[in-house]
Amino acid sequence: MINIKNLYKSFNGKCVLNDISVTFETGKTNLIIGRSGSGKTVLLKSIVGLHEIDEGEIWYENTLFNKLEFTDKKKIRSEMGMLFQGSALFDSLTVEQNVRFPLDMFSDISIEEKNERVNFCLKRVDIVNSNNLYPSELSGGMKKRVAIARAISLNPKYLFCDEPNSGLDPITAIMIDALIKELTEEYSMTTIVNTHDMNSVMEIGEKIVFISDGEKCWEGSKNDVLNSDCESLNDFIFANSLAKKLRQTKK
């Protein structure tokens, strides 16, 4: 479980996150949704410690993460996996070396065990016969899947995904969503996904937090999201004309 209490973050005096308090539950796919520039990525990067927060508390289970020193954060970070918007695979390493990297860095298992784990993770995300390819030789969807394989290689307790569907076609996006949900349940992880893709919201949104202009405006599940009274959430969800028509019909 990850618990955020009264989080504030600003850049050059401009408030980007304003008093965010939310709990992300274990074994669930938690979604942070909102328009581009609403503060989703800053929130996610603050949660994982890539941004120093101005005020507030970030709790990983019973540990106050944001007050830890760099070396003390390492233990919790070794339990994190993160899928970045642009995949962030290491250009100079092959697919296999990318997935093996966290194992080489943080585990003392034998080479055979590492190979086994790498192949298992790649198979789990449906990447076969591509071990020796470089990231530049992969498609967008394959890059995301390799990044997921790298993120789960150390059996993380926490999985963070920043816009996992950006730049992907709808079918590949659904596959990535399904994979994230399956892995969350399989490994009982606390997963937080940043997205503005409504398909993702309706497919995997077990817990949804809506952020607008740096403030938490709404919190609920995919079952509640269509019936919310939150004006800004409705503007976001029913932004396109088809959705607007459906809403009118429903009314």
């Binding site: 890539l50 970070r77 943080f106």
Partner: protein
Amino acid sequence: MIKFLTLFGQYFLMLKKVFSKPEKASIYYKQTLKEFVNLGLTSVGIITVISFFMGAVITLQTAYNTENPIYPKYLVGLGCRDSILLEFSSTIAALILAGKVGSSISSEIGTMRITEQIDALEIMGVNSASYLILPKLIATLFFNPILTLISIVIGIVGGWIAGSVTGVVPSEDFIYGIQYAFIPYYVVYALIKTVFFAFIITSVSAFEGYYVEGGSLEVGRASTKAVVYSSVLILLFNVILTQLLLS
């Protein structure tokens, strides 16, 4: 002034991170070997070519500008040797390496920054500054002196060939000249300067790349800044080190 002090502080904080204890020594060792190839071995070609031609030009320039019966011909060899030893192979070669190696380091790390690869390392709990910069520093600190020695030898050979082929300095005179009044300390002086310059090139370029913000345009700007700042610092430290080491 405040901006300069902030940058200065940020640079030393980065160095503190760079020299902190590595996560896993074996990984750093492999990474250092890779950097020996990427930053060292790949520079041998350019250093060889430039040193050869610079040695040749120094010899010809010295010969044509000291055409006087009272000057013995072997002074051309001596002049070529000392010019190469004292300035060319350490300072000028360092300026060339600032262009080649510095821009490569800065753009590599800068691209990793803007494509979130550095963030990915941090998330894993890896000290990204140390993992990315320390192997490069070790590689250049060890390999640049080797490049300097190669440059000295090739430069003198270039001078000897140019002098002999054009006939401006007879081969025996040139060889006598490069042995005449040889001060071994000059080699030490050149190597000490090289080590300082290697540190400047690598750390300044890495700093520019590591803290880049924005997109590809900023990475390009960071590369340019890395080369300019490294070159200026090399020239500044050249004066300081010359005064300290030769006074």
